[in-house]
């Protein structure tokens, strides 16, 4: 009698497992094309639109501030500070958003394409976390103290983001064929979607 019960229990167990396996939603293909394209888009947006040094320098250019304070009355000075603050806050938000996209790709998908050592992964995780925190802190500082409140943090944030972009670029290098990479490099000055 006892072996029959055991066999029945095993049979029921297998049936339940089978049902669970059938009912389970198909998981997205690991390292799906969507994730790759999303990461590639985030990388391009950061490198070509949000982090070019000449653009970042312009956002925080002190000569603009000095010019407005020397050449314009108080209400225009106020307008200038408000406009710059709005732009800088939008910039920080967008940098953070794209960094989150890249981070999601790294921790969700990149290991399927690129072999990273454990130490590299830990360093990368730390850098992403530090940058996200820096973005938040910088946003708060600009919100409270204005666009010229923390110029050093802006520079460091942009430099860290650029370093992470370089690491991500290596992970995604296989997506860019050599020929088109040459063209992109060649025309980087002429056709970047700034």
């Amino acid at each position: 009698m006892t072996p029959l019960i055991i066999y029945c229990a095993i049979g029921v167990g297998l049936l339940v497992l089978l049902l669970l396996a059938v009912r389970r939603r198909p998981s997205p293909a690991e390292g799906s094309a969507e994730a790759l394209l999303g990461a590639r888009h985030a990388l391009r947006t950061l490198q070509l639109s949000l982090l070019p040094p000449e653009l970042v320098d312009r956002f925080f250019a002190r000569d603009d501030l000095e010019y407005v304070f020397a050449a314009a009355p108080k209400e225009i000075q106020q307008l200038f500070l408000e406009e710059r603050k709005r732009i800088v806050l939008a910039w920080v938000s967008q940098v953070r958003q794209q960094i989150v996209s890249l981070q999601d790709f790294h921790f969700g998908h990149s290991r399927h394409f690129v072999q990273l050592s454990l130490s590299s992964e830990i360093v990368l995780a730390w850098e992403f976390a530090a940058l996200r925190m820096a973005c938040r802190a910088f946003y708060l500082l600009v919100y409270l103290r204005g666009p010229y409140g923390a110029p050093q943090i802006a520079g460091k944030m942009a430099a860290t983001a650029a370093r992470l972009c370089a690491i991500s670029e290596k992970s995604l290098a296989f997506l860019t064929p050599a020929e088109s990479r040459a063209i992109v490099d060649d025309s980087a000055h002429g056709s970047a979607p700034v």
Binding site: E54, F59, A61, D63, Y67, R86, I87, W91, Q94, P193
Partner: protein, 160 residues
């Protein structure tokens, strides 16, 4: 003779455009507006008969788009003081009363249609913001200047 690869053709056409036409227009703001005027707003395609006859319609279009993006980038990275000077020169060359010009630019915001296609919204917004401040500075300057002295104070743009 083997035809040039397309991107080399576009580079050659861009060089030609810079040499023959854009070199006569000294300021990025003027170049931006000039190149935007070469674009058909219904299709987004650029037309330039001379360039198209030397290269092809498609290559001319891409070269104009490249130069348009370049002018945008140059204006975007100009200092605020430089933008004020460029705007003042453009205004002077238009020969319209500065007060009327500023009022029209503040109301109609014609610069908003002068940005290249696929410009990142933040970059466009940064330029618009700088132009708004430049207009405010010029408006203040001209409000304080007597009408007779306005013409004399406007620098002339060489390209117009």
């Amino acid at each position: 003779m083997t035809p040039l690869p397309k991107h080399l053709d576009v580079q050659a056409a861009s060089r030609d455009l810079r040499l023959r036409t854009l070199s006569q227009i000294p300021h990025p703001l003027d170049r931006l507006i000039y190149l935007a005027s070469m674009r058909d707003y219904n299709t987004g395609l650029y037309h330039h008969d001379g360039l198209a006859s030397r290269f092809s319609e498609e290559v001319a279009c891409e070269a104009l788009a490249d130069c348009h993006r370049e002018a945008f980038r140059q204006l975007l990275t100009s200092s605020l003081e430089d933008i004020v000077n460029q705007l003042q020169a453009y205004m002077g060359a238009s020969r319209i009363d500065p007060v009327e010009f500023i009022a029209a630019w503040k109301d109609l915001k014609p610069y908003q249609v002068a940005v290249p296609a696929e410009t990142v919204p933040l970059s466009a917004e940064f330029l618009f913001s700088n132009l708004r401040i430049a207009l405010a500075i010029l408006e203040n300057r001209f409000r304080m200047t007597p009408p007779a002295a306005r013409c004399a104070s406007q620098p002339r743009s060489l390209g117009r």
